[in-house]
Symmetry: C2
Subunit: 493 residues, 2 copies
Amino acid sequence: MSKGLPKRSEDYSLWYNELVKKADLAENSAVRGCMVIKPYGYSIWEKMQAELDRMFKETGHSNAYFPLFIPKSYLSKEASHVAGFAKECAVVTHYRLKNAEDGSGIIVDPDAKLEEELIVRPTSETVIWSTYKNWVQSYRDLPLLVNQWANVVRWEMRTRLFLRTTEFLWQEGHTAHATKKEAEEETNRMMNVYAQFSENFMALPVVRGRKTESERFAGADDTLCIEAMMQDGKALQAGTSHFLGQNFAKAFDVKFATKEGGLEYVWGTSWGVSTRLMGALIMAHSDDNGLVLPPKLAPIQVVIIPIYRKDEELDAITEKANEIMADLRKVGVSVKFDNRDTYKPGWKFAEHELKGVPLRIAIGPRDLENGTIEIARRDTLTKEQFELTSQPISEKISGMLDEIQKSIYSKALNFKSEMTTEVNSWDEFKKVLEDKGGFLSAHWDGTAETEEKVKDLTKATIRCIPLDRKDEAGVCVYSGKPSKGRVLFAKAY
Amino acid sequence: MSKGLPKRSEDYSLWYNELVKKADLAENSAVRGCMVIKPYGYSIWEKMQAELDRMFKETGHSNAYFPLFIPKSYLSKEASHVAGFAKECAVVTHYRLKNAEDGSGIIVDPDAKLEEELIVRPTSETVIWSTYKNWVQSYRDLPLLVNQWANVVRWEMRTRLFLRTTEFLWQEGHTAHATKKEAEEETNRMMNVYAQFSENFMALPVVRGRKTESERFAGADDTLCIEAMMQDGKALQAGTSHFLGQNFAKAFDVKFATKEGGLEYVWGTSWGVSTRLMGALIMAHSDDNGLVLPPKLAPIQVVIIPIYRKDEELDAITEKANEIMADLRKVGVSVKFDNRDTYKPGWKFAEHELKGVPLRIAIGPRDLENGTIEIARRDTLTKEQFELTSQPISEKISGMLDEIQKSIYSKALNFKSEMTTEVNSWDEFKKVLEDKGGFLSAHWDGTAETEEKVKDLTKATIRCIPLDRKDEAGVCVYSGKPSKGRVLFAKAY
Ligand SMILES: [Zn+2]
Ligand SMILES: [Zn+2]
């Protein structure tokens, strides 16, 4: 009944791919690397969007929309930025099709060649800062606190549904400030918004950290990030927040008149999360039976399934189900009555398990007689008989949903801490990485050379320098040179 | 103080462009024909999206997301579809940039040419129906009721902010049904959803109608539409809903097993509205002082402006303003206290007038003494003193907002009916079109030849065959041939 989902222990990667498809989350399209996000998957993304959007607005940001296309010359204006993105750009060169003269079909019209090629945005710093130039004259115009929900394209050679796709959906915040301090505070604030969203809504604990110089965003002076641990021991970068210094202000000549009458370059930040979070959500909690969703992001929190033989039984169950649904909806619980007569209860149980519905209520004729219902938890796969007179149903269900949300989080938190290992020698590093995986907390000498060498030898990268790390003198796990503190290494998605 | 907005009577087109820019709604970007939707403009669009999205969900639709790119061969599969869109397609031909070997800068890497060119979606029927092929096997999989919020690109030669842009934002619904009847009902249902949204939220009355064959969507068997009348006497198509017959099902081989064991092609619809609605909203109600927004779509419904000289006065006014804001927010009214000390009250009055805030409350020291406030209506530009003890403020303001919503609608409804003229001869047709404009209700012989001839001679097109038209025998206003009823001609955006 699990629709043939592979086991995680046998093939984690195949398990993930099959789960994404079988739970109706997403599938590959005919265009290489571009996915179709199916209605059920999209409804989870909508819930994530709604919460994030609320958090952005609460921190003073407004949404806007900037063009999909970036003139090639714009992308080139910030040197390290173009170097970072040039290799994966979709390029528009023509603006018309026509019928081939030899009748062979529709071809690109060679007469409709663009004077300057357009790049499908891989990120929007350049087009936004070229716009900010006109929006900012004086200190009174600052700060600009703008976010955009959009699609972006990065031509990836190896793609995986949600985790790495050629086109993906995201939000990108782009802010402009009068002072360095304000921009740094903003960078930090939005990293914390991401961390809170991840922990409170996705039930996914994260490490708040700083990227090393070589892992920074192309064009940033500093990149903060949140890193999560997946069930297979690989890390996943769930969100980044960049302090851009005055790099884009200088590239696009964005200056402002200060209160004191001077003229200065503006300070910038940018920050983003994407449909990649869907991948993190799926991998973090799910099991061999399918998806496990935190109640706060589940499109359907409770499903009610009638168990019956005769039509009169269904009628009586329907009446009870309607009562329960009305009670639950009053307290904001989303509930669905699955009364399809084209499928049997067992099939429905498996279906809703696969799709991660947090609670399942089953009602049969015996239950009606006894004044009970059966409630099953998706996360623990446990069942209980509940007496309807013992407690208001809305209270019972709300309580259970809260409990599931907390329980999923604790489980992930325990897992993350079990999967974080202090290692103090190169042999230990290699052994733990190979046998156990997870985060390796190790001393590093601070050089890009060592970082790269470790990556070449083991595929582990420095995920981040945790913001809460202790100052602790030590020696680099690889080079033996002095180190000021531990960083987190891991193999990563 | 109107920031130099041109008068409508002098130059309607310039008035519109300047209004869009000065009210911070949108501006042109560096990419020809692509606009930047500014935060204030986008916040109106968000309100429109939220209502439409709610209406789509209430009628059973779910959102999903399909790829931005369409393989060239897909676009070609439905013959009339590709003919309709081929001339305005942005084409991606390469997937990488590189440094020019002669050091001249960044160039498109000729080695990274795509085997098959990709079209940036002008609309998504082809990519969606190629997906539906895998989603539909049996009658149990139908209907598919899917919507997508997305950006699309049509390479327009002459563009205008919101009304006609190369890239625009829209929603596109794509549904699949087991029977012709169901698909026709859906086509009709969604046209009515659009009409209700336009009338109830945008305060914009529309004509519900059917497009003539030559104005149909490329690939549709029937196109329903809503048409609105702008202040300059030009019509604007505000939304379309297409009955696709089995055209796309046949092009992409989408069949289903019927209950009775047969195998049949699926029936389809598609329907969409876009950021063009922003253009309609702006043009429908605004005046020489700026934007006039219906309260239901105004991001800020009430602005409170303090009038003071001394700081103690501001303190007392602030206390009163906070009370009022708390009362208004309790009943769901969005309100802003504009206490910026960098601008004078007169400047603020003009600013909020320009931005179309429906109600303005001014509070000065004298008001505090008298227990009054001044309330000004944006739509009528009238003011009144309101005694705070006479009625709860929340009741007063909610009442006024309702009244404004209704009043704006009535005004537009009267205008539309004044601007609809029955004409019965060719001379009359030409005279009314030139002197007055608006909708010309006239007999038409039903031929594409006459339709085209009228267009060539006068630039007026058949906006639609109204759904509620009476059967009325007559003679065509142009050809003198027999006609079964009147259609609406107009010059249009
Ligand atoms: Zn990190
Ligand atoms: Zn029409």
